[in-house]
């Protein structure tokens, strides 16, 4: 499987994961490690963070999709990730609509604009 592309990983609530898995992104590899994490009410932040870091460390993952409310829980880990591969995409969730002001990428972009710079 050398020539195949990279995978899309998902960290999200049940419906988000189900939807993306229906779309065909899911994989269980030889070690039975999935490329998705269904976050339930009792999933701990440590578990989420560890999974996120393990996805970052895997070299067969190209994009990580994560619900924004989960991204908020591990914001420091997301902010620390600066590489372009894997790309981290924050997506809305059922209970929490997407808020651009929380998005790491847009916050970085916004951070560089101060009125004095462009006089």
């Amino acid at each position: 499987m050398a020539g195949r592309g990279k995978l899309i990983a998902v960290i999200g609530d049940e419906d988000t994961c189900t939807g993306f898995l229906l779309g065909g992104v899911g994989e269980l590899n030889k070690n039975r490690k999935p490329n998705f994490l269904v976050v339930e009410k009792d999933t701990s932040i440590t578990e989420i963070e560890e999974t996120f870091k393990s996805f970052l460390a895997r070299n067969d993952i190209g994009i990580i999709l994560i619900n924004q409310f989960i991204a908020e829980m591990i914001r420091h880990a997301i902010d620390a990730h600066m590489q372009s591969i894997p790309a981290v995409l924050e997506i809305p969730s059922k209970e929490h609509p997407y808020d651009a002001s929380k998005d790491s990428i847009l916050r970085r972009a916004k951070g560089m604009f101060s009125a004095e710079d462009f006089r």
Partner: protein, 238 residues
Amino acid sequence: MGVSDVEEASLSLDEKLLRFMDQLELLEEKRAKLNSLIEQGWFSISKARYSMGNKQVSALQYASEIEPLVFVNSRRLENCGVEFCTERPNQERNTSSSIEDIGPKESGVRRRNKPKNDAAEKEASKDASSEKTPELNPVNESHQNPQQDPLKWFGILVPQSLKQAQSSFKQVIELSAEIATLQDAISNSRQELSLSLKNKQTAAERVGSPLGQGDKLNGSGESKQKDSGGEVPIKESL
């Protein structure tokens, strides 16, 4: 000479800023589309759950073997950016055999009651079957292996709304690759922008005191640094 340097730097800065703004606008547009598609997908899943039962369409029903049906290819562009594009390796096959074949895979009539006395015929049929097997095997493999459609995890006769959910999430996946490309382009433009901003500042400093304007720029710059001490390290880190 010095002034033209500053002008040049300003022009390139303007150009980059405009490009950056265009990219942000495009990102916002795509984000809005992505959000509405995801919403549509959830709505369809909920509708499917409503018609199938409360406990249906849940994480418990995922298959024990899951094979990916979609991949992303990343490609480095000349300007150091990365482009992501999705790929569905067996989409063609799926579309060509969209009508499911139910029943025996072998074509023709099968002889179940073979006459025992006809040894020669038996031999011939053996030969034929041994010849046939290598032909049949790949077909069978391609039919069994085709990473099962995830729709089947939730039942054989799934409601139309679940199929709609699948199609909207497929679109979301494609769109998310585009957004990932755009996000990368935006962070690159941001770096370029901060670099040219620095260039402009050094050019302005070089022009220095002979120009009144330069003086003003320098002076205001210093006071700015004092005022917003916290701002500088952030920019550095960018």
